[in-house]
């Protein structure tokens, strides 16, 4: 049924502003915003890992899962758009339990030996463990042997520290436009890979811009010549670039 006259329902469809509830707080939002964006605007913190402002969200780490009243399903806040009358719960015993378990799975998947990591003290995975009150890992560790790719002149890729958030893949593709990085393999065998599975140093397209290094949340991508806890990352270029592009 199509009609040219504006009915109340079609008028509602055109409204761009919605109101919703996040953790008992009434908030208003633009209908194309995500739950995560609206929560952040209202100082409601939802933990994230793969999310990076300025890159297309993936919804893949599942840390930012939230509950929506009336649905048994959980939704990734970074990719779920707000809607009128939505009631979002960002913190509950169930969510806390799942977030903890997911972070634990990341710790057992690779070999995050924090004490000898160049990113010790400045690592988002480590910080997430603190935030979620994780004092030990209940899951058995996998101890899969990983390689370290030191073939690049300036940088190093240590698969032992990688959480497969694909921030590097996205920043290289979406911002730098080089698409050096991608994911090879599947399941537990997934690895970040340069070009068509070349050593990073042999990549023809890498511009050595270092963007991937500085938005990597852990010690997986780092600068060479750094010792334990010495790697300082400067991800601030990304919001700056994003603002500049939007205003262009």
């Amino acid at each position: 049924m199509t009609t040219m006259t504006a009915s109340p329902s079609s008028a509602a469809h055109d409204i761009q502003v919605v109101t919703l509830k996040i953790d008992d707080q009434e908030v208003s939002a633009s209908r194309n915003q995500t739950i995560l964006q609206v929560a952040a605007e209202n100082q409601i913190e939802i933990p994230t890992l793969c999310f990076m402002p300025g890159l297309k969200p993936m919804g893949s780490c599942r840390i930012c899962l939230v509950e929506l009243a009336g649905s048994p399903r959980l939704f990734a806040a970074c990719v779920t758009r707000v809607s009128e009358g939505m009631t979002v719960i960002t913190d509950s015993p169930r969510l806390r339990k799942y977030r903890k378990q997911i972070v634990e799975l990341l710790f057992v998947e690779r070999n995050h030996v924090c004490s000898v990591c160049v990113s010790n003290g400045r690592c988002e995975l480590q910080a997430l463990a603190v935030k979620l009150g994780i004092t030990h890992i209940t899951q058995p560790y996998r101890y899969d042997k990983m390689v370290v790719d030191s073939s690049h002149d300036l940088f190093r890729l240590d698969h032992n520290r990688c959480v497969l958030c694909t921030r590097c893949v996205r920043v290289c593709d979406q911002i730098e436009g080089a698409h050096v990085w991608d994911v090879a393999g599947r399941g537990i065998d997934c690895r970040i890979t340069a070009d068509l599975n070349l050593p990073w140093g042999d990549s023809d397209v890498c511009t050595s811009c270092g963007k991937c290094v500085h938005i990597c949340p852990t010690g997986a991508l780092t600068e060479k010549g750094t010792a334990v806890a010495e790697m300082r990352k400067q991800p601030d270029f990304l919001p700056y670039l994003t603002i500049m592009r939007e205003n262009h």
């Binding site: 924090c114 003290g121 603190v130 030990h136």
Partner: protein
């Protein structure tokens, strides 16, 4: 409680750094000494882990058959077992050997890196990869965190855990509470 709580410390496969951090409590050690009986510790010369220990702080991963024996004994004689530091909590550096076979590990440590010939053999001959297995307890296939072997009551991560975190944990335990050290320390701290 008439008698003072009986506290023990022990180390397995670690670097003793957690014990050093414990000693870094400095003058607080004096307060602590008045509150507890330290019944066994690498810093106290007692060979056999005693019975009826109230709190045991254990450093290091479980790496060898001796570690296995020790931790089971400690668990059976202790009320509250504390995993002290990253090696005890996560396996940490000792567990980095888990990617290699024990054979290749021994070859690397006792042959390739040996600066003295082993048992009269020149290091270059490669004729023996046994290593010093008579004098040293047999290694387990993997170095593992303590809670994968026995039940652990309190986990104190950190490499090493800061003295404040250790003091908080001990003080809380003495006050009869199970402490949560997550705000004072973390993996790798």
């Amino acid at each position: 409680m008439s008698a003072k709580p009986r506290v023990a410390t022990a180390w397995l496969d670690g670097c003793s750094g957690c014990h050093m951090s414990f000693l870094d409590l400095d003058e607080k050690l004096v307060d602590l000494a008045g509150m507890v009986d330290v019944v066994c510790s690498p810093t106290v010369d007692i060979k056999e882990f005693p019975q009826n220990v109230d709190v045991a702080l254990v450093e290091g991963a479980v790496s060898s058959e001796e570690d296995l024996h020790k931790i089971k004994l400690i668990r059976s004689r202790t009320k509250i077992l504390v995993s002290l530091g990253d090696c005890a909590v996560t396996g940490n550096v000792p567990a980095m050997r888990n990617f290699f076979t024990i054979e290749s590990l021994f070859k690397r440590a006792y042959q390739e890196n040996a600066d003295v010939p082993l048992r009269g053999e020149p290091a270059s001959t490669g004729r023996s990869i046994d290593g010093p297995c008579v004098a040293v307890p047999k290694l387990c296939e993997n170095a593992r965190p303590i809670h994968e072997i026995v039940k652990v009551d309190v986990h104190v991560p950190g490499c090493p855990p800061p003295p404040d975190a250790i003091f908080h944990v001990v003080a809380e335990l003495l006050a009869g509470r199970i402490p949560d050290a997550s705000s004072l320390t973390r993996f790798g701290k």
